[in-house]
Symmetry: C2
Subunit: 202 residues, 2 copies
């Protein structure tokens, strides 16, 4: 489904956008972020750099958090895909490892800042909530596929399983404990996995 490539932070805006301007603004946002850091990031600076009006940006991204999430998401795509190796254990391990890895460096800092903003700004919470709802839906497909293969019980709620795993990763990100060993990833994945695997027939 092509929805997978549409940012959920943007999708809530109904207006049709000019793709060139969108790309230009997103590229400007990333450049501002790299040059000024998070502390110097502002819609104003992005508008200046993209030679766009602030109202144009706000029409497409209702909050700074929404724009940051879009930058985050576009940067993530390069190295992060929901794994589909045909084996639920491998997929879940790759999912957790991928999350932890994508959060090393700038992308982790962006995501942390959005989570922080979401604790005080309703617009940021709305952007984060929309983003997470979409991500849960996407990552839940790992479990749906495993259910279709008969690896995971049919009564398991796909989104809840990946939520347990991504929440574990969130906790590590937000307390700067991202250096999770492979053994620890295995322990977490295998713990959750034991609770959802299909029982052998007979």
């Amino acid at each position: 489904m092509s929805e997978a490539d549409t940012s959920p932070a943007r999708r809530s805006i109904g207006a049709t956008r000019n793709p060139a301007s969108q790309e230009a603004i997103l590229a400007a946002a990333e450049a501002v972020l790299l040059e000024n850091g998070l502390g110097g990031f502002s819609i104003e600076a992005v508008a200046r750099r993209a030679r766009a009006g602030k109202p144009t940006i706000y029409r497409w991204w209702p909050s700074q958090a929404a724009l940051l999430l879009d930058v985050y998401h576009s940067r993530k795509k390069a190295g992060f895909n929901y794994p589909d190796k045909g084996n639920v254990r491998e997929d879940l391990r790759a999912y957790v490892t991928g999350l932890l890895e994508t959060w090393e460096g700038t992308n982790g800092a962006i995501f942390r800042s959005v989570v922080a903003k979401a604790q005080g700004e309703p617009e940021a919470l709305a952007a984060l909530s929309a983003y997470m709802a979409d991500r849960r839906c996407q990552s839940g497909r790992i479990i749906e596929k495993a259910q279709a293969r008969g690896e995971v019980r049919a009564d398991v709620r796909p989104e809840l399983v990946t939520e347990i795993l991504s929440s574990f990763a969130w906790g590590r990100l937000l307390t700067e404990r991202l250096d999770v060993s492979d053994a620890e990833v295995d322990a977490v994945v295998d713990t959750v996995l034991a609770g959802i695997v299909a029982k052998p027939a007979g």
Copy 2:
């Protein structure tokens, strides 16, 4: 062990404190919080109210976050204890439910603000990290006791199990999705539990 009642956010400070002043400052901090809200909370306001010097407060609580965590912790105690019902499933359900309940209202707002601060202020991160290390140690005892009873496998790392569950609760708190049904708590607990239970002998 009496350590359980000593706030980890404070414990790192070696100095012996005057209990009366400590209590007075903590009471003042809670009063300032209730009157001014989080936005109006400051060490200055607490010092004024407690008739204490700011250096005195900073000597005991190295950051606003450390003081907020102490207020949070002291408020939590009234209704929150690590459960010990002699049954790991009941204990873990009570643990998750207790976390979610203790975060409804002011206490959730305090904790969210500390997590948010920790994303930008090293002192806040240090306070949160010390607090969480202590909490993992405390909550891990649920699993240690279950291991002693033979309910949970000996090779399971106690702290990792309760970290998985508390991280799930964190995720709900930080995205304002605290309204978790009993069925959802059961699903999460039972998923994790299946991965750690001792296999029946033979």
